[in-house]
Amino acid sequence: MPPEERRLYTVLRQVYASALVNGPFAIIFAHNEGMVGVNDRIKLRPMVAARKDDFLYISSEEAGIRAMCPGPDLVWSPRAGDPVIGRLGHDEVIGAPGERPAAEVTYARS
């Protein structure tokens, strides 16, 4: 890991230590610009994602996705700790295989 990146993670860890979420979790939340799914660092709870055309699906089970969308273009298991982020108006899904993982993506100031 490049030293600046290492330093960033170390500083974040030092300053926000009390905000660490412990234990197993799989959280999906949506806001008015999109949807985020994220697991704990060692994926103790299930999470699966899929896309078809311009739809992103996140669920705890693949069967759940297929109940709504029988033939997705791509189904994948997100990596532990790496969020899956879909934004309205953006074709790229962060955290999908073949896409750049979340850590590499920079955020433009809106």
């Binding site: 960033l8 500083v11 974040l12 030092q14 300053v15 230590a17 009390s18 660490l20 412990n22 234990g23």
Partner: protein, 533 residues
């Protein structure tokens, strides 16, 4: 030790004769005060190898040789060095059965103290920490464990983070784009002290303890990736190699303090007080200021080393701030500055002031904290328990929104990993251990440190005694202790369902009180057992 005459028939007869003759002469004479020895020494004569090792091992010259080992019970302090080193294990040191009429108020200890003070007119001295039967709050606190709704974590398989950073943390982190297109932190962190596990060693000066003992502690700190503390004895050449893991102390006597010293360590600590003797200073008698001690403390040989009660340049919180920044300037803002205080009634307000004065860490020393020498009355009756001090300081700093500006170190009677976990749950970032580290070196808590005759070689400067500690062995024993407690802390965190020790810090919700007064529970911020979340 008070003089006791042996009860031979001769002496009794002598005494009788004296009294009879004095009565005749018109004098009234009081019999010498009888204070029974605290311990009795016996050995199994059949097993005794007559090697005389016990005689040599005793630092208090309790034993002599008259065709067999003969003890002077009055000199025995119950340190058990002779027992531990007897090749036949045929020595027994027992408390002397005291057959004085029992009294619920006037314990035999109180009676003996009055007799001694009548003899000497002096202040009674003692060593180590408060041994009186005040309630131990740690023993009335229990920790939570996970069942069902929040599964426990297996420390054998999952990453368990004990690493702790002591120092100032900013309010938030600002992130920016670097010139190479990568994200980086714009916020610069103030210097922090990194510990591999939330344990450090309490200040114990060279002078109060031997150099071999201090070196054992310094080496163990380096091996375990934690920190040790020079105490107010300065930094001896032999422990300079471990200076990068040392907190160098700046105390009222300013012994050995110069710019090089301040810059040699990983952090600087201003000592205002300690739990064993809050509000009073220290006194290393001239006899203990050997050539070596004199060089390290930068004072003349044989001169008393007096640490005045207050630091004479700190008479207000503004003065403290001035000293803190003087040190930061002298170290060019590269070292975190710690302020050590005894836990007293107003500790929360004092701590708040100290943090606002610019301290990066606060070291709280509870009333069970140890020392090489202190007046017994001060040690046993001043100060408050560390459990309460940590809870109220953590709470006050959080209420004032300044908890991130300094880390809290809890000390004073931390006996086990359980005490450590509870102290962290009450609000401490880390714990400091003094007595426990010395116990690891062989100390048996006989509380005679102030005599300088420690048979275990720990708190003495007599080369015959200090050579009994080999730092290579001593440091291993202390490192073992730190490793064992760290492994136990991982087990405790796992049972709590936590991956990192910071998640336990200040989490009073994971503690419950058993048989504590409602008032104490409220001060601690802890619920009684049985009450849910």
């Amino acid at each position: 030790m008070p003089e006791v005459r042996l009860d031979t028939e001769e002496a009794l007869a002598e005494g009788e004769a004296e009294i009879t003759s004095d009565r005749r002469a018109g004098h009234s004479e009081v019999l010498p005060l009888y204070s029974p020895p605290e311990f009795t020494w016996t050995n199994d004569v059949d097993k005794c190898r007559r090697c005389k090792r016990c005689i040599m091992q005793c630092g208090w010259k309790t034993l002599s040789w008259q065709d067999r080992v003969v003890p002077d019970h009055s000199k025995c302090v119950g340190c058990h060095r002779c027992e531990a080193t007897c090749p036949e294990q045929c020595i027994t040191v027992r408390p002397n059965a005291q057959h004085f009429k029992p009294h619920a108020l006037w314990s035999l200890g109180h009676r003996k103290n009055v007799w001694r003070q009548a003899d000497t007119g002096g202040v009674l001295l003692t060593g180590m920490g408060n041994d009186q039967p005040y309630e131990v709050i740690f023993d009335h606190l229990v920790l939570d464990a996970c069942q069902v709704t929040n599964p426990s974590i297996d420390p054998l398989r999952e990453p368990m983070e004990l690493r702790t950073y002591l120092g100032k943390k900013p309010e938030s982190v600002e992130v920016e784009m670097g010139p190479d297109g990568n994200l980086r932190a714009r916020t610069r962190l103030e210097p922090n002290l990194e510990l591999a596990t939330p344990i450090l060693f309490a200040p114990m000066s060279y002078g109060s303890i031997s150099l071999t003992a201090q070196k054992s502690i310094a080496m163990a700190a380096a091996e375990c990736g934690i920190a040790w503390n020079t105490g107010e004895g300065g930094l001896h050449e032999e422990v300079k190699p471990y200076a990068d893991r040392a907190i160098v102390q700046c105390a009222s006597g300013r012994f050995g303090v110069h710019a090089g010293y301040l810059n040699a360590g990983a952090a600087v600590e201003i000592k205002i007080g300690q739990g064993a003797k809050p509000g009073i200073g220290g006194h290393l008698p001239g006899e203990k200021v050997s050539l070596d001690v004199s060089q390290t403390r930068m004072i003349p040989v044989g001169s008393d080393a007096i640490s005045p009660a207050p630091q004479h340049d700190i008479y207000s919180i503004e003065d403290l701030r001035q000293l803190i920044y003087a040190i930061k300037e002298a170290t060019q803002y590269t070292k975190p500055v710690c302020v050590k205080i005894a836990a007293v009634h107003n500790v929360a307000a004092i701590a708040s002031g100290i943090v606002r004065a610019g301290a990066d860490m606060i070291y709280l020393d509870g009333f069970r904290g140890g020392t090489g020498a202190a007046p017994t009355v001060i040690r046993d009756h001043l100060g408050i328990p560390i459990e309460i001090a940590v809870a109220v300081v953590d709470q006050r700093l959080r209420e004032e929104g300044i908890r991130n500006q300094a880390s809290i170190i809890a000390a004073g009677g931390i006996r086990s990993s359980a005490d450590m976990a509870k102290a962290i749950a009450l609000g401490a970032d880390a714990v400091a251990i003094g007595t426990a580290a010395l116990l690891a070196l062989g100390c048996t808590l006989c509380q005679k440190c102030y005599t300088g005759r420690c048979s275990w070689g720990i708190c003495t400067q007599d080369p015959e005694l200090t050579r009994r500690i080999d730092p290579r062995v001593g440091s291993q024993r202390i490192a073992n202790l730190v490793r064992a407690w760290s492994a136990e802390l991982e087990e405790i965190l796992g049972a709590l369902g936590l991956n990192a020790v910071e998640s336990l810090r200040g989490s009073r919700e994971r503690l419950r009180g058993l048989d504590l007064h409602a008032g104490t529970l409220e001060v601690l911020g802890v619920k009684p057992a049985g009450v849910g979340a």
